[in-house]
Symmetry: C2
Subunit: 374 residues, 2 copies
């Protein structure tokens, strides 16, 4: 069976070489070979995050574990926190704050709306939030938030900032040192094009100090970034057995990212985003995300209620292309096209041509485009 093209917001297709890297003999996680692999992963991750100043973390997990580790490590019970909620993952970040005992407030944006730096500035004025949580790209809507401006507002107010970069790092420009955020994290299976199973996270010295200065200890073992920090510096320290094969694949994927070069990779993703948006505009679909805030890594579009399923099904069965639908209530009327990782523009163009054919075929019965949400 030929490999399907995954145009979902992760996981994405992984290269043959990454796959091969995951299928070697089992390495002991306590030997020199694995230690060397791990150090290389940390070094490559620093390059990919453009993180020279902060602490770099890589451990077994997922974006969810990255998010929860950030919350539980940084937030003490009773802390006031603010979450900018512009989609499913924003809502989840708010929920994690609540689970971990924060007095958690949020600014909630309508579906497709982006977080607004002006709203944030007003909210931060005279407040005593200990941290602000935001998503760079919320894959549920494909909104790309203006994180530079948002983080700048946090820094101006002296508040820690945490940015979920799960659907951006490796695809959208993100430079940890320059951005000035306190924690950013992603997962291996997104724009870095490795297999799922690892979280990659950068934390500023200020974030680490805030964890060290907590009055009450971090209420987790595995999710404590303070416990992981010495392991990152010396992998001979034991915290938990790592998913060695996932990490071997990740090393290969990260080195492929750096071989392409970050700037070239970002430019390719910009091109992918443009191609997707041109297609959507030309075919009369409605964008879910606000104009000017549409991610170059994923494009969510409205379709006629009930048509998301048939489109997805036909694309997979007839063209070998896997698309995603909307989450929960949007599942029958939203299609999400992931375009990141190793995807080349000509491959996306061919897939969009298939989508064109699919839509035309289905439209012979009735139109499937929708300019707005029904």
């Amino acid at each position: 069976m030929p490999e399907k093209l995954l145009l979902i917001p992760g996981p994405t297709n992984v290269s043959e070489v990454v796959r091969k890297a995951m299928s070697g003999p089992q390495l002991p996680h306590v030997g020199a070979e694995f230690y060397a692999t791990f150090k290389e992963i940390i070094g490559l991750s620093r390059q990919v995050f453009r993180n020279e100043k902060g602490v770099q973390f890589v451990f077994t997990g997922s974006g969810t574990i990255g998010m929860e580790s950030s919350v539980t490590s940084l937030v003490s019970r009773g802390d006031r926190t603010l979450t900018l909620s512009s989609g499913y993952f924003g809502k989840r970040m708010l929920m994690l704050n609540q689970i971990h005992g924060a007095v958690a407030e949020s600014i909630d944006y309508p579906e497709g709306g982006h977080a607004d730096p002006d709203d944030l500035r007003k909210k931060l004025k005279g407040s005593n939030y200990s941290a602000v949580f935001m998503t760079h790209v919320d894959t549920s809507t494909s909104v790309a938030n203006p994180i530079k401006e948002l983080v700048a507002e946090c820094n101006a107010a002296g508040v820690l900032s945490v940015v979920d970069c799960v659907c951006s790092i490796g695809g959208l420009p993100l430079e940890f040192d320059k951005l000035g955020a306190d924690i950013v994290f992603t997962a291996s299976q997104k724009a870095l094009a490795a297999a799922p199973g690892a979280v990659l996270l950068a934390a500023s010295d200020r974030a680490i100090q805030a964890m060290e200065r907590r009055e009450s200890p971090i209420e987790s073992y595995y999710m404590s970034l303070l416990r992981w920090k010495p392991v990152m510096e010396d992998p001979r320290m034991y915290l938990a057995t790592p998913a060695t094969q996932v990490l071997q694949g990740l090393r290969q994927a990260l080195s492929e990212v750096m071989s392409e070069g970050l700037d070239a990779r970002w430019a390719r993703h910009r091109k992918l985003g443009e191609l997707a948006r041109e297609f959507v505009s030309a075919h009369g679909f409605g964008f879910v995300a606000d104009e000017g805030y549409r991610s170059d890594t994923v494009t969510s579009i409205w379709v006629k209620d009930g048509m998301a399923g048939p489109i997805q099904k036909t694309m997979e069965s007839d063209h070998g292309v896997v698309l995603a639908r909307g989450i929960y209530e949007a599942k029958d009327k939203m299609i999400r096209i992931g375009h990141f990782g190793n995807l080349q523009p000509d491959v996306l163009e061919a897939a969009l041509a298939s989508l064109d054919a699919t839509v035309s075929g289905l439209a012979s019965a009735e139109p499937v485009q929708m300019a707005e949400r029904t």
Copy 2:
């Protein structure tokens, strides 16, 4: 480079077929193919755990995540808990209870000592512990605790029991339904011979009810077994992106376990344990674990202080066999031989012959055996 033989207490060598299962094209975690894989994994795990009555869990993680999920899901702040501590992992379970706010007590056994059902019975008498935590095999000492008797004491006292079976399930006889424990868990890379990256856990209905009846909610998202339960029943539910390749390998490994048959597999491990113990006795090394409580999956022995390093090094460089040393203070005077997973008795015998040669070679300078800890 030929594959090394891993005689460490995990990870263990994985079969060619398992490795191949991990290197296929990336599967979307939201498609029919992965759902079918996941359901098969749950079904096979039930067989391997002999768990028909309880809830079966499999999710991305490690033994550590299994342990912490059990603690945080079951224990509310202020609960009194008891940990039977017979080694490093017992100590860690105690620490996890403390981190999660339990009024955590322990019965501490000396290195190599086993948890004693009489001690437990006395301690439980008139007490109000909400749960008792214990390890089946503590890989730091290779003690196999008498969990049948220990769990029976818990059940007689009406106290929930949690058993860390990381170094036992798939190697030592363990039947969840018959045992009557409330939670048991293991990790993929031990006696099940899959790659690291997944936790497998069984919970009794009573354990689930205890979680549901908590007065305060579980203080974690990813580690909440109550949140994972619906995903286990219907993998279309989303909690976090699973490590799909690790799980594809796990499915293959579990089906290899069931092809061999649990009873045959347990008998093979009994044989492996006997071979290791015969070697140790014949060569005058001291056992770390109490007689009668030595695991069939791992054997820890005392060597002359300073010799653990040279033995380990020579075995790897000259014979391609990787052994483990003791943990922390024991690292220079303890050797740990893992013998589980796919290991066949003749392969262990050959490795023990190499160990014999190694010890003889090193002993030409000075004897390396030690009957007891120095």
